[in-house]
Symmetry: C2
Subunit: 234 residues, 2 copies
DNA sequence: CGGTTGTTTGAACTGATTCAATCTGTGTGG
DNA sequence: CCACACAGATTGAATCAGTTCAAACAACCG
């Protein structure tokens, strides 16, 4: 099975992406022309640490980033994902989470001091980011339900469904971008158990695997098992 | 043991609270004078349902509100709390969560159509709410770590520590506003187990209980057990 | 080829759930 | 003031889902 899948995700044009998400074209242009640099972020290497200054805006052009926190006992929890077209807004003060790449990613990084005045000057842009924040909030709530109330099978299946949507993949197949350890870090389990869940899902005929490629013969049934209701992704 | 503690939480002056949280006085006044009505919200009664329109701003004056979601199997997860002085911002479209009172609460409710123009007109107010949103985001991330990575004892202890801070109580004692069922709904457990955790904590001398009143003989040790780092609350 | 990362499997263990029963305050109506 | 209903807390026993530890295996990379 392929262990290191090529970053299959195609790079997106950020400006188009922002427009598709509802931002007016002329505002998207302003954002696009904001001084910024594109950076390659490698998986498994430290990128932004917990407790560091976070005075940057970041937009993911390709790949996949995660925000993570570590408990005092060192156990890691991934608390959010950022797919291509999504971003991480600056916050003042020290960030309580770190950032890492799940797949090799291209990230556009701008400074808060350039970003903030732009947003201040355009109420429409404000409203736009407001909505994005609310979407992220809704996803966070859904993750809490996932961790707190669903069994391990549903947790993994739900993550796959959400990932599928956020990658804009079809419902019948997808390429799983995560290692089993990362799925464990997202769903609050151990990698050993995630492995068993995958085996179970396959045994039940809910998925077929070929390396990281996953076929879903009956998407409706799969979503039922995952108790996945895509509404929260808007 | 007292079963129905009087809503011990004192009502706060919302304007003062907003100023204390960093909003400039003249902006606080504007918000304060926004058309709005005060409502009594009773615990355990439905207040705002999942999937309903959510075109209101709400500020908690006294008591305690929660946002909750239900899984398809009907299991309930509380995904956020709102203490006095905190608020719930409007979102466009249907909300994916319901709202209920944990304690009898007084809530100031305004319409989004009154609130939005005010925020649009004042970048400083924008920045203010931006920060509040980021605080809520940080709390959400911490809850994910709590549910995903800590054992049941730490989960309950952590919730108590956070509650203590957000209620502005001292570190050596507090009045627990939750039923054990609600703690279970927050920490992703069953009420039976929460009960056992409380018994354990007491047996270990980490807390002393008298009804809903909790004494914490050694706050530093308690926070260690909870792996509570208050930084995320700012 | 050797090193590294990720996946798979087994066996033993344990923390938490489930189900069911009991107990204890509180408030209500007679 | 008592009887009753009710919400919430407590406890026990059986069960089970998920962890832990350890080892083996597979795929890719330089």
């Amino acid at each position: 099975m392929s262990r290191h899948p090529k970053s299959a995700t195609t790079g997106v044009d950020l400006r188009d992406k922002l427009i598709a998400a509802g931002l007016e074209p002329h505002l998207a242009t302003i954002l696009d022309e904001m001084p910024a640099k594109f950076t390659q972020v490698e998986p498994r290497k430290p990128f932004r640490e917990e407790g560091a200054e976070r005075d940057e805006v970041m937009f993911v052009r390709s790949g996949l980033l995660c925000k993570y926190k570590s408990d005092s006992s060192g156990r890691r929890q991934i608390v959010a994902l950022r797919f291509p077209g999504e971003g991480i807004l600056p916050r003042d003060g020290l960030a309580d989470y770190g950032i890492q790449a799940i797949l090799r990613s291209e990230v556009k990084i701008g400074r808060a001091e350039d970003f903030d005045p732009i947003v201040d000057a355009h109420p429409a842009m404000q409203r736009f980011f407001w909505k994005l924040i609310q979407r992220n909030e809704a996803i966070g709530y859904e993750w809490l339900v996932n961790c707190g109330r669903r069994d391990s099978t549903a947790r993994v299946a739900h993550l796959l469904c959400e990932t599928q949507m956020r990658m804009h993949a079809g419902q019948a197949r997808m390429t799983n971008p995560f290692t089993q350890q990362q799925i464990a870090d997202i769903t609050g389990q151990t990698s050993v158990n995630v492995n068993r869940v995958f085996a179970d899902l396959e045994r039940q005929g809910l998925i077929k695997r070929r390396g990281r490629d996953i076929q879903i013969p009956d998407p409706a049934e799969f979503r039922r098992v995952a108790s996945f209701q895509p509404g929260y992704l808007r």
